[in-house]
Symmetry: C2
Subunit: 436 residues, 2 copies
């Protein structure tokens, strides 16, 4: 038997200590903690450093069965991230700038998707390569990763300038919400393609999934409405919510061929805006950051495949970063201009949407199966892990700089930092650590 | 491949929903939630109900690889319970009634251990059976389960009567702390026996474990002292603490042959009484009750072996319950009398120590390997699961009744319920759900 529960405890201990130390280190240098956590996975995992005999490096060398268990922990982690994301959706914000935000989000998803897919296609040998459906899926997968925005960093930058509650601040926040929803739908289409069934079947499955989820979700919502009114702040509310989250994640993947994270996100969305939503979210965040989220990011690093790590992929990473940033600025900025925003405002909106974070990684983890491989297991497509990590680093450093520059920020001028509401304070202390 | 991450999500969803529903149901009838949670495991697991085709029953039928993963989750759960237990140890309380409490705890461990071992021996065919070391270990294991007190219920009963801060209340709380420490040591001796190595080697290993743990623990304590002073209430503090907990649990089992829960408990003990202890404890509790603890209890039910379930084991359960209650009342009551407490006080102390709960189940889970089996896998010893569950039910119903009766409680008299301190309020809302 190659499974040892005791070794799992060791793996957990090392992962928790290493991710936190590396995360704090990268944050110290202004790079998001997620990057540090994945890097911790590289360091402690068997991929690179196990041969070097440096203390603590390559310390984790799990058997296949143990990797399965770590994978399960990591899957729970990413489901909790998306569940939380869904719960934090504030639909009432959308009313304020609903139409413009929807247009901006649509272009903010479509342009990166198209440019990312094209970029990957070129890189894999041009359009002729798309006759191989595996490579087509791989290219779409790369495009899909580019769609997910992570506005935490933008929020911080806007707040520093005292611009968060302005028209521009509101439209960025709303667009980011709709961006998530559309991005999740694109991911659903992508993952449904996996079976190789025909297009109509795929469309039917996705529509079926959303219909089923919304019906069951509304039923659950009635129960939770009752619970959070009559038994507020009870432990049972959060535990049932977790149950719903895992159940949705399960049937999304098992019966509809949609990614599990889509199910988890939809579960969060269906339970958002209730009296006890913040309470459930808090439990999801604590359970997440104490054990599951670090394992999710470390697992990406531990299970990374470095067989493709060469100059070629670095070149692609460069293309990927440029496309990722240009596509968001172009897509969101131009559509904002179309919606009547001034040039300056449109630039700020475009720059505010470029940051990528944990959702891009969640999409990566959900679509890993699309990395095209030949029959003998060698890579023939692109593994976008490295490019994604590089994009997260570059975009999260660049985003606040660009936003501030578009506002004509100068160090000499004094800005009135907006005070945090209690809710934002909590949000800040919980979520923002990931991309800070 | 018989492992599916998606199925694990389903298992988690079902476990969370079922344990909470069953836990709330048993609590409604005055039986502790832990019992309901284990019962949920019976219901949803493959053991009994999978043949019956009743909806939702036997719904979980994990492959061996999936059971491994659930086992890992459950191991994390029981480590968090013991870690929390260790963190909540208040050494300053011991000063008040240190000597008497130590004597009471010693007898409270020794008498149940001896009587439990004797009872199991008789049940397995008398002293001649002990020539088989497997049966000897099995008998000691049964005795060991009887040692662990769970005073949550007693605390509630004393508070209701307004007697918690009296001399008797204090000595019960102190004795329960020492009881845990001694019980953990007895468990260490038992688990070290597993290797079959000689007695001196075993003693050396245990001493080595405690020496190593205390030295490393003190080093960690210095770091945490610094952290909780200079970076109070930071997420990193709790995450490092979890790392330490899992690390101690790992090396206890891997290098010293001591149960993993012993390591987790010691980690908690070494980090108790710091500024940030309550903060860490809170994170351990939330992570525990949201996912891991329910899985621990459900896993006991899911993986239960019912091959021995017959009239014979029910008879033993009866003996086990009587021994478990008589041994605690006798051991603690008589030693209290010896320490100069009045007959009434001694009776209250004895009755206050009879309740068993989650720690008894943790000891059961840690010692499962001691259930003697013949070469062909059939049981030749005793599986004390059923008797333990029955003891938890009976003792937790009986304990408050006996405590109140010893105080001459009458429904007519009005009692001044002691108000809860903020700390107790938190304790109550976090831990007490398990045995309420």
């Amino acid at each position: 038997m190659d499974f040892s529960v005791t070794h799992i405890l060791f793996d957990l201990a090392v992962i928790l200590l290493a991710t936190k130390l590396c995360g704090l280190t990268t944050r110290h240098f202004g790079i998001p903690q997620v990057v540090g956590m994945i890097f911790a996975g590289f360091l402690i995992g068997p991929a690179i450093f196990s041969q070097l005999n440096i203390p603590f490096m390559g310390i984790i060398n799990p058997s296949e069965a143990e990797m399965d268990t770590l994978h399960a922990f990591s899957q729970v982690g990413v489901c909790l991230i998306l569940f939380s994301s869904g719960l934090e959706t504030k639909f009432e914000n959308l009313k304020k700038s609903g139409f413009a935000a929807t247009i901006i989000a649509l272009f903010g998803v479509a342009v990166p998707l198209v440019l990312g897919t094209l970029g990957a296609t070129l890189f894999m040998g041009g359009f002729s390569s798309l006759s191989n459906p595996d490579l087509l899926h791989n290219a779409l997968f790369v495009g899909c990763i580019l769609t997910a925005t992570s506005v935490g960093i933008t929020v911080e930058a806007l707040r520093e300038l005292g611009k968060l509650s302005t028209k521009v601040g509101t439209v960025i926040l709303s667009a980011a919400i709709i961006d998530d929803v559309i991005g999740i739908m694109v991911l659903s289409v992508l993952t449904s393609l996996k079976g190789g069934s025909n297009v109509w079947m795929t469309v039917l499955k996705i529509l079926g999934f959303f219909a089923f989820t919304i019906v069951i979700g509304l039923l659950c919502r009635v129960i939770f409405l009752w619970l959070s009114k009559n038994r507020p702040h009870k432990r049972r509310t959060s535990i049932f919510a977790f149950g719903i989250c895992f159940l949705f994640a399960f049937y999304a993947e098992e019966y509809f061929g949609v990614a599990a994270i889509t199910g988890a996100y939809m579960a969060g969305l269906m339970l958002s805006g209730l009296n006890d939503t913040a309470f459930m979210d808090r439990k999801a965040l604590v359970s997440g950051y104490m054990i599951f989220t670090p394992i999710f990011f470390a697992y990406i690093g531990i299970s990374a495949d470095f067989s493709q790590f060469n100059a070629h992929i670095l070149l692609f990473a460069l293309l990927f970063i440029v496309l990722g940033i240009v596509a968001k600025i172009g897509g969101c900025g131009l559509s904002a201009k179309m919606c009547g925003y001034s040039l300056k405002e449109s630039t700020i909106i475009g720059c505010g949407m470029i940051a990528r974070g944990e959702i891009a990684l969640a999409v990566y983890a959900a679509g890993r199966g699309f990395i095209a491989k030949a029959a003998d297991g060698t890579l023939i497509g692109i593994d976008p892990l490295m490019p994604t990590i590089c994009l997260i680093i570059v975009s999260s450093i660049l985003c606040p700089i660009l936003v501030k520059a578009s506002y004509g920020y100068s160090r000499k001028k004094k800005y009135v930092k907006e005070p945090l509401t209690k809710e934002e304070e909590e949000y800040r202390s919980d979520i923002s650590w990931l991309f800070k």
